[in-house]
């Protein structure tokens, strides 16, 4: 006697075996096909997966070593520097010409940012080619909520502001806010951006007083530089 209830019960057991990886060969192929075509079966499978996943709840998370992340990046995106140039290329406001004419990607003279032995080990230099604007940024990777900003040369044009942007991967630039008017100051980093910081490119654009009204850069890009270990 095989009623619809039995069928459901059989399917429930089949879905459990499927989630556990106990199926093989033709049985597995059939189950995989049903997963794509049969919503009832899919629901049974999903319910088991959720229940069995809670068996992993007591497995302690372990931070993997940085080399794993680097290896993944290498495998998926090629060398880091290539990636940087591609990322910059994907930001239309920062054309190849602007890159060539307006920025140094070379990090120099960052010693200025080192007040003592516990100097912040990460940072970037954002400078115009003629050094009419030089901005150096540094932060402690253990406390990325605050950037220290030094501006040895240059300033915003009268009635304008210098706005700092974070570019992570292929994503659009995200504003870190307007640079302080003082030559030395601090810029707070929102919590959701902190994990992106050490792999990001920082850039500065010329914006109306108070910053870009649109949330995206509206004025000239004055410089950009990758965050590196100092």
């Amino acid at each position: 006697m095989t009623g619809p209830g039995d069928q459901h019960e059989d399917d429930a057991v089949l879905a459990a075996e499927h989630v556990l990886g106990l199926l093989g060969g033709e049985e597995l192929d059939r189950a995989e096909r049903r997963l794509e075509t049969d919503p009832d079966y899919r629901a049974l499978y999903a319910a088991w997966a959720e229940d069995f996943v809670s068996l992993t709840q007591d497995m302690t998370p372990v931070t993997p070593p940085v080399r794993v992340r680097n290896a993944i990046d290498r495998r998926l995106f090629g060398a880091r520097r290539e990636g940087l140039l591609r990322r910059l290329g994907l930001w239309p406001a920062l054309s190849a010409a602007a890159l060539a004419a307006g920025t140094y990607l070379v990090v120099t003279n960052l010693d200025l940012l080192r007040p003592g032995p516990e100097a912040p080990p990460f940072g970037a230099e954002i400078a115009a080619e003629d050094r009419s604007l030089v901005v150096r940024v540094a932060f402690d990777p253990d406390a990325p909520e605050m950037l220290r900003v030094l501006r040895p040369s240059g300033a915003a044009a009268p009635g304008r502001a210098l706005e700092l942007w974070l570019i992570a991967g292929d994503a659009a630039p995200v504003s870190l806010g307007v640079l302080p008017e003082d030559r030395e100051g601090r810029v707070a980093v929102p919590q959701d951006l902190q994990p992106l910081l050490s792999q990001a490119v920082l850039a500065i654009s010329d914006e109306p007083a108070g910053g870009s009204p649109t949330g995206a850069p509206t004025g000239a890009v004055l410089g950009a530089g990758p965050v590196t270990r100092l």
């Binding site: 990886g21 106990l22 809670s54 992993t56 993997p64 992340r69 990322r87 991967g169 292929d170």
Partner: protein, 184 residues
């Protein structure tokens, strides 16, 4: 935004090829997934390789998320668990071919906290734990063994010293009772 929705949004953006979202997904989930690789494989170097392959897979397959109706963390953990189990099974196979060193295989199976120890460590309020505890201890251990170390019916039959078909019947009956309890 809840963590669940955040991770879902990241997966959605990774599916569109958003590298920043991929980095954020890695930051948010790699420790949990690495913990699972370490637990299943019990070998640091192999767990690192597995984690690497898992994230490469995630980058390429993020678009398949929601095909099988899993919540975002369950989807990620399932991919990680399945990948680690595949590696573990390949290793078992290679080791049993290479001179039939069954002791090494047994050591592997015994490595890390055993199913029983995990059962005790598991938090009591979990639905699945409550329902597992309604099964006879050896049957609950078989279900855990299948999920956490990828043991096949043949492995389980050998470990529990029963014929293959008996194992199959046992486990299916246990799964039915588990289902009955979980939907109660």
């Amino acid at each position: 935004m809840s963590r669940q929705t955040e991770i879902e949004a990241m997966i959605g953006r990774v599916a569109l090829g958003d590298r920043a979202a991929f980095g954020a997904l890695y930051d948010a989930t790699s420790a949990k997934l690495f913990g699972i690789c370490l637990r299943v494989l019990n070998d640091r170097a192999e767990a690192e390789d597995a984690l690497q392959e898992i994230f490469v897979k995630l980058w390429h397959n993020a678009g398949r998320y929601q095909v099988n109706g899993l919540s975002p963390m369950t989807w990620l953990i399932t991919i990680a668990r399945n990948h680690a189990i595949d590696r573990l099974r390949a290793r078992r196979k290679a080791e049993s071919r290479g001179g039939g060193d069954m002791d090494a295989v047994a050591d592997l199976a015994d490595a890390g906290p055993g199913p029983e120890a995990l059962a005790v460590a598991a938090s009591e309020n979990q639905r699945i734990d409550r329902c597992m505890s309604e099964l006879e201890p050896d049957r609950a251990a078989a279900v855990r063994g299948a999920y956490l170390t990828g043991e096949s019916y043949a492995d389980l039959a050998e470990r529990h010293g029963v014929p293959l078909n008996t194992m199959r019947t046992w486990l299916r009956r246990s799964l039915m009772r588990l289902k009955e309890c979980l939907t109660r």
